[in-house]
Amino acid sequence: MEFSNINIIDVLPGMFLVTASLLAVLSIAIKRNHKLIFGLTSGSLLAVFVYLLVYASDHQFTVEPLFVIDGFGTFVTGLIVMSSLAVSLLSYAYFEQREERKEEYYILLLLATLGSDMLVISKHFVSLFLGLEILSISLYAMVAYLRKRPRSDEAGIKYLILAALSSAFLLFGMALIYATVGSMEFKDIGNYLGSVSNLPITMFAGFGLMTVGIGFKLGLVPFHMWTPDVYEGAPAPVTAFIASVSKGGMVVLLVRFFGEINGQNYPVIVLSFSIIAIASMFTGNFLALRQSNVKRILAYSSIAHLGYLMVAFLAGGSLGTEAVCFYLVIYFLTNIGAFGVIAILSDHERDAENLDDYRGLFWRHPKIATVFTAMLLSLAGIPLTGGFIGKYYLITSGIGADLLLLIGTLVVNSVIGLYYYIKIIAVMFDKAEGSETIALRPRLYIINLVTLFVLTALMIWYGIYPQGLIDRIRDFLQ
């Protein structure tokens, strides 16, 4: 038995999360206390982040054979951890007023974070698969967490069946590749691809099947159909988590995988992803147009946004990776912010997801409405928000790589997308008074509000002065 090749320090972030989740389980076993477990979760997430900050100066090594810890991975890990922290901050008040048991949620949250974390640093099919599955299985339960709501169950079962199915596709694809290459490490696959001139068709088939799995996780067309239903059925903080951490981890994995195998060199792969990207953009935006459920709108918008992100992904290169990083940061901020708003406005019965719940919001809760407006504008890519710089980054990387068709589609879709974002804004600014003012419980919601303000402030700051973030990203990507 040799453990010698693994330095425990190297995988400390993961260890932290594991320990935290175990501690959480223990604490439940002793006494259920929402506040305690919330503190534990947030504290450990913060600790991971602080650790990464300190540790970030020294990166770029591998834990054979599963993990690679490089700047890219570290950066995204930090991002994921912070996003989970934000989600957990938003969750506290949300679950506090729900009748369910709250404590298990945090365990699942920690585990899901762990899964996503493993995804972004994996360089091997095994770690890919395990990370993905930890994430997925935690999410099944998180989606269906509020058991009394019929929609939670529905969303949960849909997500479960579909995710398992797509995992099967992913696995089969991996198996085909493994059968062809003889190794499950990304690097070996890349080397193999570089060494043979005439690629065996099984490779492509393998990639194709893997794409099904990955596409499902990212909610790309035509594997997107779960997105709106799950977004709608899941509790708002969980939706925030799915929209950000879960998808982000997969995106990073995809970037890393394709970076290793130089996926951009294979027209088949580029073609497949281009088709998927274009279809995602159009489908997402068109579907959102007349939707009146805010969560579903955001779901459709996320389909489109992942399509946009594919542009940078396809562009590849350092600019593409930078663009992906930047876009992810902004996208996380915005999505968590937007769902945070939904969470803050939700009541015992149901989440505040109907457009009518937002009528006249600006005049009832100006602060929240301002935050939501900012988030929506960022999603729409309007200047002064991070979303603008993010989209700009995507377009830049796309033009740099001559992906004109994709860029054109992106632009057209940005325009279509405007409609439904400003539709929500318009509703919020409507003069007509909406339903009764929901009394927010100030003591609890102060956390949420502060979180939202911080998110908004960051998002706008990155919109006005993105250089800081760009420098940071470049540091890490060195």
Binding site: M1, E2, F3, N5, I6, V11, V18, S21, V25, V63, E64, P65, L66, F67, R101, E104, I107, L108, L111, A112, L114, G115, M118, V126, S127, L130, G131, E133, I134, I137, S138, Y140, A141, M142, A144, Y145, R147, K148, G156, L176, A179, T180, P200, I201, T202, F204, A205
Partner: protein
């Protein structure tokens, strides 16, 4: 060896077809066990005895039993079979089946064209697997522990019986 393989493969395929076409879920599960058994044979032929054992123990044993438990908890009766009969009509299955067959054809073509390397049939036994598992894949094992934990926590939370809040006179009689 080849003959054994083909027989086992035939059994696996046939029993799987039976699984997906049975109306009675218990029957289907029994066929599933058969299918898993047949696959265990295939594993063995492929030189993976450890995997074959696990297949029988975990799949055919644990998982199927788990499902049967749940079915028993749900207390499904004969109406369920009739229901299944009603659900599984040609117009329901023809379309999807055709799609899947297309997919299968593509897959078969792909695989058939691609791999012509013979299997050496060298046995990779428990020791090797174990070394690998607790050597390079040790982190994977730990992670799979986490995987199971999340499964358990999730199942625990979701499976917990709700407290009945409805007055007992208003309750529907159990079916």
């Amino acid at each position: 060896m080849q003959v054994t393989f083909y027989i086992a493969a035939g059994v696996a395929i046939l029993s799987t077809i039976m699984v997906i076409t049975r109306f009675n879920i218990i029957h289907a599960l029994l066929y599933l066990v058969v299918s898993f058994m047949a696959l265990a044979v295939v594993f063995y032929i492929m030189g993976a005895p450890f995997a074959a054992a696990l297949e029988v123990i975990v799949y055919a044993g644990a998982i199927v039993v788990l499902i049967i438990f749940v079915i028993m908890m749900l207390n499904l009766k004969s109406e369920a079979v009739a229901q299944e009969k009603k659900w599984l009509t040609p117009e329901v299955y023809v379309g999807p089946a055709i799609l899947c067959i297309i997919l299968l054809a593509e897959l078969i073509y792909t695989i058939g064209v691609g791999n012509t390397v013979g299997i050496t049939g060298q046995i990779v036994d428990v020791k090797e697997v174990g070394q690998s598992l607790y050597g390079e894949y040790i982190l994977g094992v730990e992670l799979s522990g986490m995987l199971l934990m999340s499964g358990i926590v999730g199942a625990y939370h979701l499976g917990r019986q709700k407290k009945k809040v409805v007055h007992r006179f208003l309750e529907k009689p159990e079916e």
